[in-house]
């Protein structure tokens, strides 16, 4: 029965009764992201009393140990978090061992009884990707995946979704054998960021932007995903991934999808994801010649970043001395559809760049004729609209304005809107938003199977050509914006990279 007292009240979204099962509960992602996100949801009163976390991992720990870990992950927690943590449970075991799932089943039954979680489960796989299929199969074999009507069982997984189209398809097949597509929530935490969602508001809630969001007015688009950090202790993993797989195949494709898609009929899971897939399908699939002329792969050498001397990639822990793994990618993409035909999309991402920043910039075409003396407009750039995704989320518009005085001199002014300063409400962290969505059952901000498949279709030919040595790896000093070849890539069309 619904609460009659709540009728007509404006209430924040709340998770339904549910047990959140975290595989990889003793890992870094759980402590750094998931537990703080849950504490924030609890503080916002978006978790009910009928909620519990069950941790599963190989680490030798009991319920008390897991509760201690949860408390320590949120050192400034409020009493409600401490109260919630008291109900957390832990199952120690190997993911490939049936006994682990039998004990998990029993614990979940106890949690249902004790906390009223009603047989609903969200399984969060904070494990290495190699375990995704193993865990999904274990859940299925022990009756935890497909639940009786009136109960839900959802699976949440994080990228990477395979390392090529074949392995991605194999992973999908394994998971689909246990869970229906509607119950699979593929996380790209970029989609949980307020500013990515704000792109939808910017485009579709304002009459001034959408009319110019097309090939008639936009000269080119630049997407920058820059990290100042190196690979740190993840060198071993990074050697098997590289920037193209780690960033372009997922984050960049998702950001492009949201930014360039057609207006959806409805802002819901089907409306948005259908349009994203259509956009991804319109991205030109490069042949080998195109890969050579339209992509640059780089790797950082030693340099200086944010005031610190840093080592080169090949000196990082877990990296082979003659590694050719890409830590930097620049690409010129084409979107072959009515809206974007002929508008180059420049993408660059890399590690050890001068600063951490993720931005999408629409660079507009210059006016057909400047009616001012050239000397008076010589420092005038084309208009641009920059959406900053992280950090300092916000939107900047750059336009020309007359300089006060008797001369008619025009110079570029940036008008910067800081998202965090505009609203008193604190923005939820991406994981906070996405965890709640998974529990509520709203997959709008999660990636659908066909999006993964299409993203791989764009990236795979590049990987293939690179593996054949068609595009040599270019060097760049840490703390610079990438190799010189990337400058030449964009300068060939008379354009230049922005300074983010």
């Amino acid at each position: 029965m619904t609460n009659p007292l709540a009728a007509g009240m404006e209430m924040s979204r709340k998770a339904p009764p549910v047990a959140l099962v975290v595989f990889g509960a003793s890992g870094d992602l759980t402590s750094r992201k998931l537990l703080p996100a849950l504490a924030a949801l609890s503080r916002r009163r978006q978790l009910t009393d009928a909620f519990a976390v069950v941790g599963v991992a190989r680490s030798d720990m009991d319920d008390q140990g897991f509760r201690k870990l949860a408390a320590e992950a949120v050192p400034e927690a409020r009493p409600e978090w401490e109260e919630l943590v008291k109900g957390f449970r832990y199952v120690q075991g190997e993911y490939g061992h049936p006994d682990t799932f039998e004990r998990l089943h029993a614990v979940l039954d106890e949690v249902d009884e004790a906390r009223g979680t009603n047989g609903n489960r969200v399984f969060y796989l904070a494990t290495v990707p190699e375990q995704f299929g193993v865990v999904a199969a274990g859940l299925d074999e022990h009756g935890l995946a497909r639940l009786a009507p009136g109960h839900f069982g959802r699976l949440v997984i994080e990228k990477p979704f395979g390392r090529d189209p074949e392995s991605a398809a194999a992973l999908d097949a394994t998971i689909h054998s246990a869970f229906d597509e509607d119950s699979i929530y593929r996380i790209d935490h970029y989609l949980g960021k307020e500013t990515v969602q704000n792109v939808l508001a910017l485009r579709f809630a304002n009459a001034i932007f959408e009319p110019v969001w097309n090939r008639q007015y936009v000269d080119h688009v630049q997407v920058t995903v820059a990290e100042s950090l190196g690979v740190g202790h993840r060198g071993g993993f990074y050697e098997t991934a590289g920037a193209l797989r780690d960033i372009v195949q997922n984050h960049v494709m998702q950001v492009l999808g949201i930014t360039l898609m057609e207006p959806p009929a409805t802002v819901d899971a089907h409306g948005i994801r259908d349009e994203k897939v259509k956009l991804l399908k319109a991205i030109e699939i490069m042949d080998e010649d195109k890969v050579v002329t339209s992509t640059v792969r780089g790797q950082y050498d030693a340099g200086w970043v944010e005031g610190e001397a840093v080592i080169g990639y090949r000196q990082e822990e877990g990296v082979v001395p003659d590694s050719t793994t890409d830590t930097y990618v620049a690409m010129r993409l084409a979107v072959d559809n009515w809206r974007w035909a002929g508008v180059p999309i420049f993408v660059r991402t890399g590690k050890r760049l001068p600063k951490r920043v993720t931005e999408v910039a629409m660079s507009f075409a210059k006016v057909p004729h400047l009616p001012f003396a050239s000397a008076l407009t010589r420092d005038l750039d084309a208009n641009s609209l920059v959406v900053r995704i992280q950090p300092d989320e916000g939107v900047t518009v750059c336009f020309g304005a007359k300089v006060p005085g008797s001369e008619f001199r025009v110079r570029t002014v940036s008008m910067d809107f800081a998202y965090g300063a505009a609203f008193i409400e604190e923005s939820p962290d991406a994981y906070e938003r996405l965890l709640l969505d998974a529990m509520v059952g709203d997959p709008t901000l999660f990636i659908r199977s066909d999006e993964v498949e299409q993203s791989w279709k764009v990236v795979a030919p590049v990987l293939h050509a690179w593996s054949g040595g068609d595009v040599p790896i270019s060097r760049y000093a840490a703390g610079t914006w990438g190799p010189r070849q990337a400058d030449r890539l964009i300068e060939a069309g008379g354009r230049r990279w922005r300074r983010p």
């Binding site: 100042s228 340099g303 200086w304 970043v305 944010e306 005031g307 610190e308 001397a309 001068p354 600063k355 920043v357 931005e359 910039a361 010589r378 420092d379 750039d381 641009s384 920059v386 900053r388 950090p391 300092d392 916000g394 900047t396 750059c398 300089v403 001199r409 110079r411 570029t412 002014v413 940036s414 008008m415 910067d416 809107f417 800081a418 998202y419 965090g420 300063a421 505009a422 703390g479 922005r498 300074r499 983010p500």
Partner: protein
């Protein structure tokens, strides 16, 4: 680490801007500076939108002259809102990087508009002092031009990477002119070849150049310039040379007809046969006049002929206090100035 609590927000109406928020740390890390900048932006009651036009990076020296110059820039944001980043390399031995930081957020009310700018001061020591660009780049306001003021001098830039960041270089030729004139000219010409250069000593000559030029606006009076046979310029050493170099280039006067003398303010005297043009310094106005060497008491001599061709006295305002005025003017014209470049070349060839 020592840190002060942020100052309370205040009503921004002072002429040089009002300090709205500040933060200092004697020993800090770059992440703390970035975090405090973000906090200041979020906390200050400046609204969500902020307009900016420029990044000004000041590479200073730890001497009193540079410190005075830097102190003068605080109100600059009223004219060029944006971010001012001051880098002060500190000497001292050791392999460890050291950084002291200060942040200041200013606001100002100009007519009905609110302007905001911030000043980031980083005093750095150790090896990082040779790589200041790695600290500056992440702090720049995106997409806006970078002007680099080499306030500490031009002879040695500790962080050459900063030059690559800049769209415009600003120097004080007077500070550079402590070495020989040819060497100064050569050094500045080297910078000109890399980036558009604004020499504050050249900017300082603008009112004088305007006043001199206006004396010869009338076509008949302009013809007198072809008879210019001597020039005496008195003033700060490098401004005097630039003014003389400009005059020689414009009129064809031979450099060996120029006399340079040291003084506090720019003065000039141009010999035009029996006439002379004089430029006098004033506290606010440089004034120019044309006069005859031997005025004809009967009123029919060359003095009266000159008077009939236009005003014999002109003056041109040069605005407010020195360094800030010059920087404001330099930032307003961030492009190559061919007049300067030819004046520079001649300034190095003028005699002592």
């Amino acid at each position: 680490m020592t840190e002060t609590a942020p100052a309370s927000p205040a009503v921004p109406d002072a002429p040089d801007g009002t300090l709205v928020d500040s933060w200092r740390a004697a020993d800090t890390r770059f992440e703390a500076v970035v975090a405090e900048l973000a906090r200041m932006r979020a906390d200050a009651e400046i609204g969500a939108t902020r307009a900016a036009v420029v990044n000004l990076v000041v590479l200073a020296a730890a001497d009193a002259g540079a410190t005075r110059a830097i102190d003068s820039i605080v109100g600059l944001g009223r004219h060029h809102p944006g971010r001012i980043i001051v880098i002060v390399p500190r000497g001292g031995a050791g392999d460890d990087n050291r950084m002291a930081a200060g942040l200041e957020l200013y606001g100002s009310q100009v007519e009905d508009r609110s302007l905001w700018w911030d000043v980031v001061r980083l005093e750095i020591g150790g090896p990082v002092a040779g790589h200041a660009e790695s600290l500056v780049e992440p702090l720049l306001l995106h997409d806006l031009p970078v002007a680099l003021w080499l306030a500490g001098g031009t002879r040695r830039v500790d962080s050459p990477g900063l030059l690559d960041l800049a769209a415009q270089l600003i120097v004080s030729g007077e500070r550079a002119a402590s070495i020989s004139a040819p060497a100064t000219a050569e050094g500045l010409a080297g910078l000109v070849r890399r980036k558009p250069l604004s020499d504050l000593a050249w900017v300082a000559t603008e009112p004088a150049r305007q006043a001199l030029a206006r004396l010869f606006d009338a076509p008949e009076r302009a013809e007198l310039l072809s008879g210019a046979n001597r020039l005496r310029v008195e003033g700060p050493p490098w401004s005097s040379r630039l003014l003389a170099g400009w005059f020689c280039e414009r009129t064809g006067l031979a450099p060996d007809s120029v006399e340079i003398a040291l003084g506090d303010d720019l003065r000039a005297e141009v010999g035009l046969g029996s006439l002379r043009a004089e430029l006098e310094a004033g506290p606010v106005w440089p004034a120019g006049r044309v006069a005859a060497d031997n005025p004809d008491p009967a009123g029919s001599g060359p003095g009266m002929a000159v008077a009939r061709l236009g005003p014999t006295r002109v003056s041109v305002s040069h605005g407010g206090s020195a360094t800030r005025r010059l920087l404001t003017a330099a930032l307003s014209r961030p492009w190559r100035d061919p007049r300067y470049e030819t004046a520079l070349e001649l300034a190095g060839r003028l005699g002592p």
